[in-house]
Amino acid sequence: MIVEIGHFALVLSLSVALVQSVLPMFGAMRGDQRLMETGTIAATGCFVLIAIAFSALMTSYVTSDFSVLNVFENSNSKQPLLYKFTSTWGNHEGSMLLWVLILAFFGALVALFGRDLPATLKANVLSVQAWILTAFLLFILLTSNPFQRLDPAPMEGQDLNPILQDIGLAIHPPMLYLGYVGFSIAFSFAIAALIDGRIDAAWARWVRPWTLIAWIFLTLGISMGSYWAYYELGWGGWWFWDPVENASFMPWLAGTALLHSALVMEKRSALKIWTILLAILTFSLSLLGTFLVRSGVLTSVHAFATDPTRGVFILAILCFFIGGALVLFAIRASALEGGGLFAPISREGALVFNNLFLTTAAATVLVGTLYPLLLEVLTGEKISVGAPFFDLTFGPIMVPLLFAVPFGPLLGWKRGDLLGAAQRLYFAACCALAALIGILAYTGGTRILTAFGFGLAFWLLAGSLTDLFSRAAFLKKGWRTGLARLLGLPRSAFGTTLAHFGLGVTLLGIVSVSSFQEEVITTMAPGNSAEIAGYTLTFDRIAQRPGPNFEAQAAHFSVRRGGVVMTEMDSAKRFFPVRQMTTTESGIWTHGFSQLYVSLGDPSADKQSIVVRIWWKPLVTLIWIGTVFMAVGGVFSLADRRLRVGAPMRGHRKAALAEA
């Protein structure tokens, strides 16, 4: 009965979403408080109902109720409990349900914490949000119903895809979806403004925190996905320019741009129309990402063609929302009021520069992702666009942007002093130069690009700190006053610094790994040793270890330096009999910020030895640590007191607003 109650709740939420699509917007047209009020209740109701549906599905997974087709196809009674939970979203239907759950969650947040929003804006936003919700609920119920039943129930399920049976995947998709779907709020706000024909002053103040929340989750989600691919796929790479990765990276680039342009809009009421467009584009890229991943178009264009129901449905949703939004934009944008003026060299100008480069970068990734697909559809030719393309296009676009990052926060609003900013960055320039020369000396002058990369990374690290340092005026006013001034700075200043610093940290990791990584691929038998980066890796033994739903073949290694045992590590391959699949569990030893990475290949013909791939990855962890800095920066920015302003004469409610 639980299953069917979940199913019914999902259907019911569709009807509620339909009501929410219509009534609040009608209310907003005439300013009718009663009709607008229904939006708040319906949005909350939708969330509760979808949460019931999701819990029902999760219950089925945890109790291994194989009378649900989806549970039968994607789980197994012998899975550890954690993966029974995560199986819920480790498949198409379940993950789409998670998608709408999060969509409804954000809708409910706006409904509950948006009390201080202008009533018409809130009603319009909730209605637009409900349109998206309705479209995706229909998609789920008509083409991807997770509550499809099986009668009689089979005894055993087909297991979750083994590579998804991992803690990284337990958290990665919800994070990613919180990011993707979070941008729907910015989108709804944009559409609401376009429908209303005016942009409230509070608009940007409202859009920015939502964008920030989404951006924080997306950042962490992408980062976690990258780390998961790094250790689970056993290839030792951390980013593959895979279409699935690009699908999440494009909204991130656009979202980052949106974050910055919303800042201009919030503070200076400038760039209004551009921000609206960016909000539309960001969510459109999220939808595109969902389409790419969920339609099956990536696995094979042909598979998509043979069973096009889902793909065509999502494509229709995509066209409706993106097309509709852009048309609305084209009609209405000219009617919108422009914003404040500013000189090219100014904080606003720097943020425009940022936007320009980030959107171009996003466009580049878009081309690199879609071109192979289009080519295959049109000519049947299969090409893969990988790292070389992106290194040549994405890289050069990012370099000037990264170079400009430290300047931005140092420029004044309206008209900035570039020379003054450059002077303040004197110290950062010295750091960068020192790093550059140091690397050149270390490599004997052969690695000019590497040296340049390190220089850029240190320029970012030192440059992002410069803002705080000079604002606190340690040199002018002494340490004590400086510290007091530092603590008195608004939290958003720390946010900026942390996020930009994190960018530098990530860049340092990337440059270091791509330049100084060492790799050994060799065949080893127990007792053999291999040398890498000054470490001696000895293959001690290999053993069979049974797992709950797999058989593991674990190789044991000991790592020595100068004869002293530094650590021991296991690298394993797991065979999952139900799916007849093998996964690698790489052995990773973290030493400082660097890692020694061992993964097992195929055994030799006589089974006496096995192919072992060993990498030394200097400073590799910085790649992910940097993203954590960025996310923490986002949290600081979110906590800034200034975001709490926006409601007339309701001081006591401001705290609630900020929490949203």
């Binding site: 009965m1 639980i2 299953v3 069917e4 199913h7 019914f8 259907v11 019911l12 569709l14 009807s15 339909l18 009501v19 009534l23 005439r30 300013g31 009718d32 408080q33 009663r34 009709l35 009020e37 229904t38 209740i41 319906a42 109701g45 109790t63 291994s64 109720d65 194989f66 009378s67 009674s77 202008p118 009533a119 018409t120 119920l141 119903n145 509550f147 039943r149 009668d151 009689p152 005894m155 409230d200 002053a201 509070a202 103040r205 503070k267 009421s269 404040g340 003026l341 904080r347 004044g412 609003w413 309206k414 008209r415 604002r471 700075l489 200034r642 302003v645 926006g646 409601a647 007339p648």
Partner: protein, 425 residues
């Protein structure tokens, strides 16, 4: 039923919650959009001072910015004033419009939900979590299974399929009264069918200790009306003729049954015995060896072996080979040849059933023991081999069978031959 109550409750709560604010009277006072704008611009002005103090904006730029924001602030304040004057109640929808909206929500929301759910949902399908399905695998205990089925039928006595499944099982468990009742429910809920009436007749016959009562006879006749070639019913009707001392009728019926039965039908030997008995009474020469066995006894044994029932679960106290005293006694009153034939017939039935559904440890054990008792060691070994093949090598069932083989002294040589077969496969 519970499901529909929950579903209706959810729908009612959601519908009411949405309709409720619509039924309220007057608008509450709300701030005009312009009020919000005023607040935002005022905040921008305050922040501008902060920025100026921190030096993130130059003095001259701050002045122009202040002027810019100030202009917007004034405009917003003007809008807020005029909005306040105009009063917004006039712009709201009239009450009938709102009521129409409320009614359409109250009608459409449940309607759409239930119609849509009806097309995609499966409301009658219960949950099947593993915990519920795993038990039968852990112990093939029939009584436990039956208890579960009974509990389910108690909740949902209108589940005709459940009665259909349970009835023959009752029959096999010698719960004839329950079986008769279950068949009656099945007929009532699922409609008449030859096998249901046949089963009912069989149950009634067993209740009467093997005598085909009038009720039973009526049931068998109904079965034959529905399916004129339903052999089990014919068997019992022939038996009835023998029991009631109508040798002429019995002769026709037995002859007809024998001619229509497949050559390996389990009831053939009894039918032949019955035919011989009838002919003897009529003074005709018996077709085969002289048969002195009273048909009554043959009837009891036959109903024990349940000729008409589908293969499935073995008779708990079945009289296959010796274990059941009553069956042995019944058999002992037959002539030597007939007894042997009857027993062999039953053993063959069992063997045939195990070939079809080999997943029955007890059945295999009984079959092996039967062969041993009959002195057919070769067949016993073959059956043991078959039994071993029927179960995975290290399953509990396989171990049980091996242990059983050891008990009756078949283990050593059979174990070897079993292994040889498994490796050769």
């Amino acid at each position: 039923m519970v499901f529909w109550i929950v579903a209706a409750a959810m729908t009612a709560v959601v519908t009411l919650a949405i309709v409720w604010p619509l039924l309220r009277g007057k608008d509450e006072d709300a701030h005009a959009t312009a009020d919000h704008d005023v607040e935002v611009y005022a905040a921008q002005l305050r922040e501008l001072d902060g920025d100026l103090e921190r030096g993130t904006i130059a003095e001259a730029e701050a002045a122009t910015a202040r002027a810019e924001i100030g202009r917007r602030l004034l405009r917003a304040a003007e809008r807020a004033r005029s909005a306040g004057k105009a009063g917004r109640a006039a712009r709201s929808f009239k009450r009938p419009t709102i009521l129409a909206a409320a009614v359409s929500v109250a009608v459409m929301l449940p309607a759409i939900s239930f119609v849509f759910y009806d097309t995609v949902g499966a409301p009658s399908l219960p949950d099947r979590p593993l915990a519920l399905r795993e038990q039968p695998q852990q112990d093939l205990d029939l009584a436990g299974l039956v208890e579960k089925a009974e509990a389910r039928l108690k909740q949902n006595p209108a589940d005709g399929g459940g009665w259909d499944v349970l009835a023959p099982i009752y029959l096999r468990m010698n719960r004839q009264a329950d079986a008769a009742e279950a068949y009656r429910r099945a007929i009532e809920l699922n409609g008449p069918s030859a096998s249901r009436f046949g089963g009912l007749g069989e149950a009634l016959t067993e209740i009467a200790n093997g005598e085909v009562t009038d009720d039973a006879k009526a049931a068998f006749e109904r079965a034959l009306q529905i399916n004129s070639s339903y052999l089990p019913a014919k068997f019992f009707l022939a038996l009835d003729a023998s029991q009631e001392q109508r040798p002429a009728d019995a002769e026709t019926r037995w002859t007809e049954l024998i001619s229509q039965s497949p050559p390996n039908a389990p009831w053939l030997r009894i039918a032949e015995a019955g035919l011989a008995d009838a002919r003897q009474r009529l003074g005709k020469p018996a077709p085969a060896a002289a048969n002195e066995a009273p048909a009554q006894e043959a009837g009891v044994a036959a109903s024990d072996s349940q000729p008409g029932s589908p293969p499935g679960v073995a008779n708990g106290e079945g009289g296959f080979a010796g274990p059941d005293a009553a069956a042995v006694e019944a058999a002992s009153q037959m002539s030597g040849g007939d007894r042997q034939a009857m027993i062999e017939g039953m053993v063959e039935t069992l063997a045939a059933r195990l070939k079809q559904s080999p997943d029955d440890v007890e059945g295999w054990k009984r079959l092996i023991r039967s062969y041993t008792v009959l002195g057919k060691t070769g067949e016993a070994k073959a059956a043991l081999g078959d039994a071993r093949r029927a179960f995975p090598e290290d399953s509990a069932a396989a171990r049980e069978i091996a242990a059983f083989a050891g008990e009756i002294g078949l283990s050593g040589e059979i174990g070897l031959s079993g292994e040889e077969e498994s490796t050769s496969r």
